[in-house]
Amino acid sequence: MLAVKGLRANVGGKEILRGLDFSVGPGEVHAIMGPNGSGKSTFAHVLSGREGYEVTAGSATFEGQDLLTLEPEERAQLGLFLAFQYPVELPGVNNTYFLKAALNSILKARGEPELDAVSFLRLIKEKLKILHLDDSLLKRAVNAGFSGGEKKRNEIFQMALLEPKLAILDETDSGLDIDALRVVADGVNALRSPERSMIVVTHYQRLLDYIQPDVVHVLSKGRIIRSGGKELALELEEKGYGWIDAEGQAA
């Protein structure tokens, strides 16, 4: 599904990703953990095509296609989705309208028929039900004046609607209280399927109590320094990031 090899990338002239190797198979859920500043968001942004990141070496392929040469919207159209660590506000842009335009843009690019207003609303209702969300968010402008929890829920809702093949969740858990965290985690779990892979980026082990990953990776200074099962997350929780930083140094 996703294969990243020897990826190096600079931001503002500084090398942040330093030879990153990483791969995800269909239906798998991978967790990436790492201290602040280790390059987690940078990795997510490079994968989704944000400008301002200079890839200097390595490759990233998605279902055999070279991701790095594509525009962000082309990646989305292929089935890549990024749930933002800091979702962006679009004042005046109605959430429902935004989602319909996004979904239809993706369908159009795939040569599939676009949805009319009625079938779109039906789809929205269905997704709201799966996620146990109410429809109050739909009438508002995209993320404008949303609370932290609402923004994160809205990201999950967008993911549910756009049905990506690979979703990257960048610290979707940070800043959420335990109830909000549960809502988000339930949403993610509801969207797990053999056709959908996920990369769950998190700073804390806490989220992994709710979302069971197949593989846990530890990112430090722009490289995956360890990969393992769920027990790696627990070990990390116990020993703290100092532990891997020390190891990263040694490595």
Binding site: E51, E71, E73, V88, V93
Partner: protein, 481 residues
């Protein structure tokens, strides 16, 4: 034959006939003097009062100077190089089908999603519509007549309702008002007259499509709308124009009169040719629009979406004379490429407890420059006056500019004034967010811009709002990057 060729042929042939002898010509040769003013009046078969009205305006205009205070720059206009009259084409000269219409124009219509029948009307194919500088026909007249509403061309009104014209024409914008208004009064080509009798709610939205399609012909429309006590009318004005080479002057005058408890809603979607990438060939749009809230509790709202023209000079205004009268101005103006706009409004509070609302949304892209110029004047008798002004600018790219000049004059201590102004840019974060959801950069820009303009679009009649949004998207195509 294309319509451009047809115009060439007509113009070419007119020179042979000569001007002084043939007032029946389709298009007058360029130039302006008293003879031309008389000829326009004669050609339109006007009663003497109208001829005199024009001549008085012309003589005064000769003493006036072109305004130079607006922040717009353009080569000096040679008023003697303009042709001041162009008759409607005869049915046999009109295009018979859309195949004969300028493909660029059709492309614009299609992008706007204008239905085929309406496209024909807009393109001047024998359907009821207003085109060129003379009103050829007006639509829906019958059902309006049943309601007692008069909706016709100014020329017809001059013949059929001379008392109303004599009473109201020039009573809001006198010929002495400004240079372009003076010129318009002298040579106005045609326009629209609306009269809504006492207590009548006009049964439909009134719309007129203006279109400039005769080369080198200055356009001098004149619109007069009178709403008697307790009446209501909503008027829509919109236009699109084909590409052309020469700059074209458009100096319209719009006068609105609202009596006691009457309400006039005037909406404009303006999309004239803005010129090529160098700004060459676009329309100069120098318009005087003013509403007179003459009666107590009357209300006038201006809503405008301005995306076209090379140069726009326009300040739809309200005179709030009646006690408790209300003035509103909702505006979206887009400048891109080399477009220049100096626009805004004036709210003149004269009566007691008058209130006004100004919402101005300016969007600049490319090397567009835009100036908002708003005047709110609270007169010495305007006790309890209120104004709320919100003036937002959105910049796309870093070569464009936006300026805001709010002028406030308060002569009564009880005035309640609020002013808010913001300038923002479309952020990279916003663009990336949209694109990561599968939207193209252009879709993202148009969505963000439409969101920015929402408060104004909400004021437009539904169908017009949809058209305005599309227009905005089209006009910002390629604005980023």
């Amino acid at each position: 034959m294309t319509s451009a060729q047809a115009v060439d042929d007509i113009v070419g042939s007119e020179y042979e006939h000569g001007f002084t002898t043939d007032i029946a010509s389709e298009t007058f040769p360029p130039g302006l003097d008293e003879g031309v003013v008389r000829a326009i009046s004669a050609r339109k078969g006007e009663p003497e009062f109208m001829t005199e009205w024009r001549l008085k305006a012309y003589r005064h205009w000769l003493t006036m100077r072109e305004p130079a205070w607006a922040a717009v720059y353009y080569p000096k206009i040679d008023f003697q190089s303009i042709s001041y009259f162009s008759a409607p084409k005869r049915p046999e000269d009109m295009p018979k089908s859309l195949d004969e219409i300028d493909p660029i124009l059709l492309d614009t219509y299609n992008k706007l999603g204008i239905p085929l029948e309406e496209q024909k009307a807009l393109a001047g194919i024998a359907v009821d519509a207003v085109f060129d500088s003379v009103s050829v026909a007006t639509t829906f007249r019958k059902s309006l007549a049943e309601a007692g509403v008069i909706f016709c061309s100014i020329s017809e009104a001059v013949h059929d309702y001379p008392e109303l014209i004599q009473q109201h024409l020039g009573s809001v914008v006198p010929h002495t008002d400004n240079y372009y208004a003076g010129l318009n009064a002298a040579v106005y080509s045609d326009g629209t007259f609306v009269y809504v009798p006492k207590g009548v709610r006009c049964p439909m939205e009134l719309s007129t499509y203006f279109r400039i399609n005769a080369r080198n012909t200055g356009q001098f429309e004149r619109t007069l709308i009178v709403a008697e006590a307790g009446s209501y009318v909503s008027y829509l004005e919109g236009c699109t124009a084909p590409q052309r080479d020469e700059n074209q002057l458009h100096a319209a005058v719009v006068e609105l009169i609202a009596m006691e408890d009457a309400e006039i809603k005037y909406s404009t979607v303006q999309n004239w040719y803005p010129g090529d990438a160098q700004g060459k060939g676009g329309i100069y749009n120098f318009v005087t629009k003013r509403g007179d809230c003459r009666g107590a509790r009357s209300k006038i709202s201006w809503t405008q979406v301005e995306t076209g023209s090379a140069i726009t000079w326009k300040y739809p205004s309200c005179l709030l004379r009646g006690d408790g009268s209300v003035g509103e101005f909702y505006s979206v103006a887009v400048t891109k490429g080399r477009q220049q706009a100096d626009t805004g409004t004036k709210m003149i509070h004269i009566g007691k407890n008058t209130s006004s609302t100004i919402v101005s949304k300016g969007i600049s892209a490319g090397e567009g420059t835009q100036t908002y110029r708003g005047l709110v004047r609270i007169g010495p008798r305007a006790e309890g006056a209120r104004n709320h002004t919100q003036c937002d600018s959105l910049l796309i790219g870093d070569r464009c500019s936006a300026n805001t000049f709010p002028y406030i004059e308060v002569k009564h201590p009880s005035a309640n004034m609020e002013h808010e102004a913001t300038t923002s840019k479309i952020s990279d974060d916003q663009l990336f967010y949209c694109r990561s959801r599968g939207l193209t950069e252009e879709d993202a820009v148009s969505m963000i811009v439409n969101g920015f303009c929402k408060e104004v679009f909400n004021e437009l009649p539904m169908e017009f709002a949809v058209e305005a949004q599309k227009l905005l998207s089209i006009s910002l195509e390629g604005a980023v990057g």
